[in-house]
């Protein structure tokens, strides 16, 4: 009897081992060529590259990531995906997902995403942002809403409570602004682009009741848009030099180097401010959701499967495997161990004891509190990048003083939008 049981266990084990080996071999042979990825620089991706051999063992091929900054990455991926298709995987974001998906430049992710990597584990907001037209298109790399990060030491010294309303924010920024002492009240983005100055302007527009369309017609020149723009321009008087044509790098750089009192930015900044390697204000920062009525700009970036460079199912599956592996729980735990809180997207990781041990309770609580303020601010349409970029140009002209008439700028945008919608 014992022998029979042992025999059955042994034979079952052999079958299981054979099945596992078979699966591993099948998976190992999944990729024929190096997986080419076009992305923008992320600490998590630099870390990921040190595990190239691991992916090679898993799939049979390695991977190569080409990096471009956000603006260049957007234009390069658009040009590449629509023409030559050199990349198997594209780094996409909330702003261009509709364009890429509706143009057929990327494939539905879940058709090629191995189930064992558990897509459902991703934060619900990230999943929603990755969804367009009822299908999921990318595996999230980072995302979230907006968070207000402030200098506790400066606010305490000035006797100011952390602002919870826009009026309080404006008063605090004006009071804290002291360029002679090297301190600027707030840091904003001025650089043209739907994902740059327009992205930071949108919370004011939506928060003040602005709508992109009213009764199906563009409403970009509404009173809310005028008020939002005037408020943004007013606050820009307190933003450090260099940010008038700057983006994320410039405004967060100014804050991290200790020159700015308050900043409202995308949530990954919060974790970066606590990283001694990147921040000079580690022990001096506090976190709160954006002041009311500002709406946090919900966003997510992630990896999508290119269609041109992956001509058959095997290639699509290989790209899907890479996207799944690169955003897996195991990779996120590695990022967590490296202190990269800004690039964590899985509930199981953010809720893990390791996360609390690394970042304490203040940051997770602040991040959780931003959820109720987060909204989709942009127009979820394939034509959004074109419209957003057009407004980005006009807004940069207003910020730099090249033009001064806000209403005329918005009227011009409205005419552009009417034409765009009519085509």
């Amino acid at each position: 009897m014992k022998n029979t049981l042992t025999g059955r266990v042994a034979s079952t084990a052999i079958v299981l081992i054979a099945m596992t080996t078979g699966m591993a071999m099948a998976e190992g042979a999944m990729c024929k060529d190096t997986v080419k990825v076009l992305a923008q620089p992320r600490d998590g991706l630099t870390l990921l590259e040190t595990y190239n051999d691991e992916f090679k063992e898993l799939s049979g091929a390695g991977f190569q990531i080409d990096y471009l900054n956000e603006g260049d990455r957007r234009s390069k991926s658009q040009a590449d995906a629509s023409t030559t298709g050199n990349y198997n995987v594209y780094y996409v974001d909330e702003a261009n997902i509709a364009l890429f998906a509706s143009s057929g430049w990327i494939a539905p992710l879940m058709d090629h995403y191995p189930a064992e990597y558990d897509y459902a584990d991703f934060d619900a907001g990230r999943q929603a942002t990755a969804t367009y037209d009822g299908k999921i298109w990318f595996a999230p790399v980072l995302g979230g809403g907006d968070i207000m990060v402030y200098r506790k030491d400066l606010l305490e010294a000035a006797g100011i409570a952390p602002p919870t309303t826009l009026d309080e924010l404006k008063a605090a920024v004006a009071k804290l602004h002291n360029p002679d002492a090297g301190i600027y009240g707030i840091a904003l983005r001025g650089k043209r682009g739907s994902g740059d100055n327009v992205w930071r302007w949108m919370p004011y527009f939506k928060g003040m009741g602005g709508e992109w369309f009213v009764d199906g017609k563009p409403a970009f020149n509404s009173q809310a848009a005028v008020d939002a723009t005037n408020t943004y321009l007013e606050l820009f008087k307190f933003s450090p030099p260099g940010t008038q044509t700057g983006s994320w790098d410039e405004d967060t750089g100014a804050f991290l180097s200790g020159q700015v009192a308050i900043i409202i930015e995308s949530a990954p900044l919060a974790g970066i401010t606590l990283d001694p390697k990147a921040s000079q204000v580690v022990d001096k920062v506090g976190f709160l959701p954006p002041p009311s009525p500002l709406t946090g700009g919900g966003f997510a970036h992630g990896f999508a499967i290119g269609t041109k460079a992956n001509p058959d199912k095997a290639a699509l599956d290989c790209a899907g495997l890479w996207a799944a592996w690169a955003t897996s729980k195991e990779q996120e735990m590695r990022r967590l161990a490296a202190g990269q809180s800004g690039e964590l997207n899985r509930n199981s990781v953010i809720g893990s004891p390791e996360f609390s041990a690394t970042f304490g309770t203040a940051l997770p609580e602040a991040l959780a509190a931003t959820a109720s303020h987060t909204a989709v601010n942009f127009w979820q349409d394939a034509r959004w990048p074109e419209l957003g970029n057009q407004w980005g140009i006009i807004l940069e002209e207003l910020i730099s003083g090249q033009r001064t008439d806000v209403q005329a700028g918005l009227d011009e945008l409205n005419v552009f939008a009417e034409k765009l919608v009519a085509n």
Binding site: R74, K76, A79, G190, R192, T245, P385, Q390, Q402
Partner: protein
């Protein structure tokens, strides 16, 4: 005899054929695309005649880009030629042979630097808070100087970098041209107690008219291709204050809207304008 006459054509034909293919194929392709309504997301759009061209002349950014391109050409070409002639003459008059050779070597360095690298280096140098160039202003006034964010100063800041790259190089060329001139007219003028500026204003520079005009045309063509410098330093901003025609065409084609047909029509207009303006200038200056 006949063999001797046909030999040059035997050598010329393959080169000319390659040149024609390389130059004409992209040109006709651009003209063809410019007559269509293609975008990156809609590559199969059909022909729309001259609609892109009509639209262009009602586009304020296109008209602004034309104006910025014209300003860019005038500023960079004139500044480079003035600096090249001034510095070249100064070295010719003041520096001894060994010093001249050393200076020539140093002056060649900027132009050897890849344009994108130079643009990045100077972008940091112009940084309002940390830049080397803006430091004296900060030190004197206590306020930052943000030239690249100023619509009035940004174009001059970028032009300064262009001048830094090409002005020194052209100065070396002017010096070598001066050295190659026959010494007798200069010596005769010196014997007649002509001052140095008189020697150059009335003798050497008129003698160098033809090569200087050629140099100016080289710089005019080079200035038309300053896309990389502007892209890295300002991306056409702040606003549209440094948005030249090639920068705007690229923005429309690949950054903002994916309108490749519209961008091609701008390229065609730029090509035609360049051919016409350069031909007229060349004929007038040669006369």
């Amino acid at each position: 005899m006949q063999r001797r006459q046909s030999l040059p054509f035997v050598f010329l034909l393959p080169t000319m054929a390659i040149l024609l293919v390389l130059a004409l194929v992209p040109t006709f392709y651009a003209i063809n695309i410019s007559l269509q309504g293609r975008t990156l997301s809609n590559p199969d759009a059909g022909y729309i005649g001259f609609q892109n061209y009509i639209e262009m002349f009602g586009d304020r950014r296109f008209l602004n880009a034309l104006w910025v391109s014209a300003k860019w050409e005038v500023i960079t070409v004139s500044a480079t030629m003035i600096m090249a002639i001034g510095l070249g003459v100064l070295m010719f008059e003041v520096a001894a042979t060994r010093l001249r050779n050393a200076l020539c070597l140093i002056f060649l360095i900027p132009v050897l630097l890849p344009r994108v690298c130079a643009a990045f280096v100077w972008k940091f140098a112009f940084h309002p808070l940390y830049g080397v160039i803006t430091y004296p202003y900060r030190a004197l006034t206590g306020h930052p100087l943000d030239m690249l964010s100023s619509p009035n100063a940004a174009l001059f800041a970028v032009a300064f970098v262009d001048l830094w790259q090409w002005g020194f190089f052209f100065a070396v060329i002017v010096l070598k041209l001066l050295e190659a001139l026959p010494p007798q007219p200069i010596e005769a003028a010196r014997l007649d107690y002509a001052r140095p500026w008189q020697i150059h204003a009335y003798i050497t520079l008129p003698m160098l008219r033809a090569p200087l005009i050629s140099l100016m045309f080289v710089k005019m063509i080079e200035s038309l291709r300053s896309f990389d410098l502007i892209y890295v330093m300002t991306r056409g901003g702040p606003g549209t204050s440094t948005e030249t025609l090639d920068m705007y065409a690229f923005s429309q084609g690949f950054i903002e809207a994916g309108k490749i047909s519209y961008a091609s029509s701008m390229a065609v207009v730029m090509m035609l304008a360049t051919i016409i303006i350069f031909t007229v200038l060349w004929k007038r200056l040669k006369a």
